[in-house]
């Protein structure tokens, strides 16, 4: 009897270890699938053109920083046809423009989205559900459908290739998302927190700032990540509307790594790798705020 139990326990323990190994292997495979392209990009960015086109991929080679020198502009790629005629094609400048538009659009959509969502969550209003649907409907058709009309519109009203134009366009893209996400977070915060703050001598606005906003921090973090990445990655409108002055990173990478002889893999790899860095840093910085845990278990019912 006792022996039986001991065996069973041992078997159970064995199963547990086996289960953990399986889980570990699965995680390793998934992780590799995600990390390998980035690793390969890194390797490629350190190779010369000849090494890249070698039929037997080499693991050990003498790394070159040429592709990075091209990125910062101290060296020309020497490829015919790379870069767009007449456009501002410096990587560094494009990076700056991308960071500028991403930061401003993210702040603006967060600000407007949060304010709209708070009102929609807290106040009684006529046809609120319909309004929410209208806001959501701006995301219902693929952006490419409106690409040509918007491009023409922007040309006619003088917004084409301007910072304000992109600011309006991208903020508009993000509003539906930020309003919906933030509203769901506000809905989860019981109104009695604000009532408590008001009893403690705070105005509605100060109650919002001091009490409600800290409690929806995970929502603010998630929204800023999604809005930021959307702007950072936007290619379609960027290449059509930003023709000369306001050329962002995605079109720049595209034009700078295409020559008449085909794709310039080294430059593509180095610029893409650098392009990833700000996003990684940003997500790393706000990751703690994504935890929803702190608001749980305090108010029930």
């Amino acid at each position: 009897m006792k022996l039986d139990q001991a065996i069973r326990r041992k078997r159970k323990k064995g199963l547990k270890i086996a289960g953990q190994i399986v889980i570990f292997v699965v995680i390793a495979i998934v992780f590799a699938a995600y990390i390998f392209p980035i690793f390969w990009m890194g390797v490629t960015s350190l190779k010369t053109k000849v090494q890249i086109f070698d039929t037997k991929p080499t693991i050990f080679f003498k790394p070159t920083l040429k592709n990075y020198r091209i990125f910062i502009g101290t060296e020309e790629s020497g490829e015919v046809g790379a870069g767009r005629a007449g456009a501002a094609t410096s990587f560094i400048a494009a990076m700056g423009r991308s960071i500028l538009i991403t930061v401003t659009v993210t702040i603006l959509s967060l600000l407007l989205g949060t304010m709209a969502a708070y009102i929609l969550s807290r106040y009684k209003m006529v046809a609120k559900d319909d309004l929410m649907f209208v806001i959501l409907s701006t995301r219902m058709l693929p952006p490419i459908v409106v690409l040509v009309p918007i491009s023409l519109l922007f040309t006619n009203i003088g917004l084409k290739d301007t910072f304000i134009g992109f600011l309006l366009l991208y903020t508009m893209f993000n509003m539906a998302f930020s309003v919906w996400i933030m509203k769901s977070f506000f809905d989860d915060v019981p109104f009695s927190f604000e009532e408590a703050a008001m009893c403690d001598g705070y105005t509605r606005l100060r109650a919002l700032i001091k009490v409600v906003l800290p409690m929806v921090k995970p929502g603010l973090a998630a929204t800023s990540i999604f809005c930021g990445i959307m702007v950072w990655n936007e290619f379609l409108f960027a290449i059509v509307i930003g023709t000369r002055k306001w050329v962002f990173m995605p079109p720049t990478i595209f034009t700078m790594s295409y020559g008449t002889e085909g794709i310039i893999w080294g430059v593509l790899a180095s610029s893409s790798l650098i392009y990833i860095v700000p996003v990684v840093v940003f997500v790393y910085l706000v990751r703690k705020n994504l935890l929803r845990g702190i608001t749980f278990g305090v108010i029930r019912g």
Partner: protein, 365 residues
């Protein structure tokens, strides 16, 4: 001489859409008084409290705090401390930050904030948990922190909305005593909302019973218990509540009861009093369970009933009696244990019989 009351409600009416939550409530509460709003859920007690705090706007009527009309004053200017049913402590702040929150609104200096917080924390015995966040506190501690946050600004009026309803039964009595003790120490005018009549009886200076948005009776616990204004109050207060039997006066000293035509002999004094009210039939007799005596032998001042169930509670027994479809509850000493099916004679304490009008349900005697 007119003593200015701390809180005065004049014909307060609050509607939510078509439902009337509070109907024509008028009430005066004196300075330093501990008043309990008591009633079943949905009776308007919490709504009245929220109107006083300014969290709801009444459609009609006036609210005065310390002689000042506050109808149009926002909550933050009313000088009230409010303890919410679920405490509403801010989860992203420690207990200390929660308690100092109202002081920070008033731009207190850091040193005086600390002094005030420590004072109130000492009063409520929570000094050792001040650095913890609400998610790490027990129900009783959450309760104390919520009280401290409301008390720290020394409000004119202290409002508590069912503060004990989320506590476990074992802490409830302790917390109740703590609230009463705190009230005695600081003497703030307090309104306390509850649906628990025992709680209300235990801590109130005055109980305001409410039902269907109307104030039924606002008196001391003793008066409410012994002289209920109507059948609702009589039944709601007390556990078990008051027994009711339909009755009508017949002849000089006989009551015809609504129990299969049984009769009960009453004192001439009572009969005379009933007679003097001018209404002799369509009455309801109310007797508290402890004011009924059980007799094994026939008694002319009693009436027979059949024993149905005996509930032995330890210090006392509840005996459920039956006559036809009608049941009565009797509270007896623990040694009285009749067998079920037995017939006993129920003898009411004549002095404690209350008579109500059957239609209006109002006490007439």
């Amino acid at each position: 001489m007119y003593i200015m009351s701390m809180i005065r409600l004049v014909n307060l009416t609050k509607r939510f859409g078509k439902t009337v939550a509070v109907k024509n409530a008028s009430l005066e509460i004196e300075k330093g008084e501990f008043v309990v709003f008591l009633g079943p859920s949905g009776c308007g007690k919490t709504t009245t409290l929220r109107c006083i705090a300014g969290l709801e706007n009444p459609e009609e009527g006036e609210i005065y705090i310390d002689g000042e009309l506050v109808n149009d004053l926002p909550t933050l200017d009313r000088d009230v401390g409010f303890v919410f049913q679920h405490y509403a402590l801010f989860p992203h702040m420690t207990a200390y930050q929660n308690i100092s929150f109202p002081l920070r609104a008033m731009k207190y200096k850091k040193a005086s904030i600390e002094k005030e917080v420590m004072k109130v924390a000492g009063l409520l015995r929570i000094r050792d948990i001040l650095q913890l966040r609400p998610s790490h506190l027990s129900g009783g501690d959450l309760q104390s922190v919520a009280l401290a946050r409301a008390l720290v600004i020394k409000p004119k009026v202290f409002l508590l909305d069912e503060p004990l309803s989320t506590l476990d039964a074992e802490f409830r009595e302790e917390a109740r005593t703590m609230i009463k003790k705190t009230h005695l120490e600081i003497g703030a005018t307090t309104i306390y909302v509850t649906h628990d009549q025992m709680e209300a009886m235990a801590i109130a200076d005055r109980i305001v019973t409410m039902n269907f948005g109307k104030i039924q009776q606002a008196e001391t616990p003793e008066n409410i218990y012994h002289n209920p204004a109507n059948m609702f109050v009589a039944n709601f207060i007390g556990s078990p509540g008051m027994n009711f039997v339909d009755c009508a006066l017949e002849g000089k000293d006989t009551m015809k009861l609504g129990l299969d035509g049984k009769t009960l002999k009453v004192n001439e004094a009572i009969a005379k009093k009933i007679h003097s009210t001018g209404k002799e039939s369509n009455l309801v007799m109310g007797v508290r369970p402890e004011d009924l005596d059980l007799n094994m032998k026939k008694n002319e001042y009693g009436f027979p009933m059949e024993v149905m169930i005996v509930e032995e509670l330890g210090p006392e027994n509840i005996i459920n009696l039956r006559s036809g479809d009608h049941t009565l509850k009797v509270l007896t000493d623990p040694h009285i244990v009749p067998k079920s099916g037995e017939t006993v004679w129920v003898v009411p304490d004549q002095e404690r019989i209350r008579i109500f009008d059957k239609e209006t349900q109002v006490e007439i005697l």
